[in-house]
Subunit: 133 residues, 4 copies
């Protein structure tokens, strides 16, 4: 499981006095960085390894300014060329937003997906929610 | 069907040279404003009528700077106290991102959902994708 | 004078119930696009012509959701390799934020400024606030 | 001197491959939070103590993804009802953006500025760049 800490900024609030829903996709993207790091060490934009194919978020509770937020990231499924991640935003020990993200291992030059190589697959396995038997 | 036009800004791009995925939830939220307007004429923040319970986005194609984007919004389902919307971001006549959003008619003071009243329901009906027989 | 219209989004508001100050630099950047267009027709990121060297903003009034904003852009000064722009955000016929931006004509490859060529200079002149005699 | 650490997010980059200038005002706002904390302990939005009257930024160098940024905040001047702050964004031990911000001690209800009380003034003094003799 990966974990990052976020301090909500004042510009993340909206006129309802809580954090605006559109900030969650940004926080979840930031929290996926350690997964990227398994695919690329250099973060070379010319050889970017993954694209986001799908994102879904369930908003489970209000999120407030002036309280830290923790984002957890786990791998739900490793497919042939794709990854399904499960993420949660936690505040005051409650999961206030849960998210599912599908990322595809991708070759931008040929504009097509690629099989995830075995050496990367091995590094992903420890982060699976349900470990294979 | 509701429709708004968006001109992508330069700060909406990312280092991959296209529009960053986190901008889509913002554009989709802006495109839901006409639906809000059916629930509230005054946009009084103290009596905000809807909360976003769920958002999912399928990213179907890259979105580019310097080309207009159209966001379409239709109602997929009107439940007792919730609405399911179907939205699309179009660029160069292609749906580059499609989205589903569930909004709940909500009373912030009692912190609970409410039944959508008949007069609002009537105004929503013309925007249903599949009209009832 | 260049002019664009902006419809504030709900995520542009903050917990004080007005538009957050950090949105203004985004709107001003978007409003400088027609000036960029004089320097580049293709918006080729590999040959980006200008960098922002300085930005200052005076916040003169509150900006509200659900009212259109107009951004005006004029050229205050054309230097050898730089441009000074004067911009205003208008809402309800009041200038609610005024801004000064200095942009430098720049060669990213050599990492140095360049003299603005005469043909570009000619196209900039009509947008000067104070026309030369 | 106040100090916060920022990890640039991928959505903070733009198509030029560096951090977009419009993110700096957000980071500087976040870095002013400890100054707010001297004026308010509760961060009650109904009794918000300060408004931003002026912001200026000099962009001194490019800012990159995948490297931490430090924002420093010092007080340059304490006026009767206003504060002038000096802020810097540091990356790789270089000040890549310096900023000046004027904040006014403000009563939102009467829509007017107020004198900064002595007890707050005392708590601000240690953060002055140039200490009074």
């Amino acid at each position: 499981m990966f974990q990052i800490e976020i301090e909500p900024g004042f510009s993340d609030t909206d006129a309802l006095g809580h954090i605006n829903n559109t900030r969650l996709p940004v926080w979840f993207e930031n929290a996926r960085k350690p997964v990227f790091q398994i695919f690329t060490k250099t973060f070379d934009f010319e050889r970017w390894p993954l694209i986001l194919a799908h994102l879904s978020i369930d908003f489970l509770g209000q999120i407030y300014f002036n309280k830290m937020v923790t984002i957890t990231t786990e791998i739900e499924k490793i497919g042939n060329s794709s990854l399904t991640l499960r993420q949660c935003a936690w505040q005051s020990e409650q999961c206030v937003a849960s998210s599912s993200a599908v990322m595809v291992y991708f070759n931008y030059e040929s504009n097509s997906s690629k099989s995830i190589p075995d050496d990367i697959r091995k590094k992903l396995l420890p982060h699976l929610i349900h470990k294979p038997d």
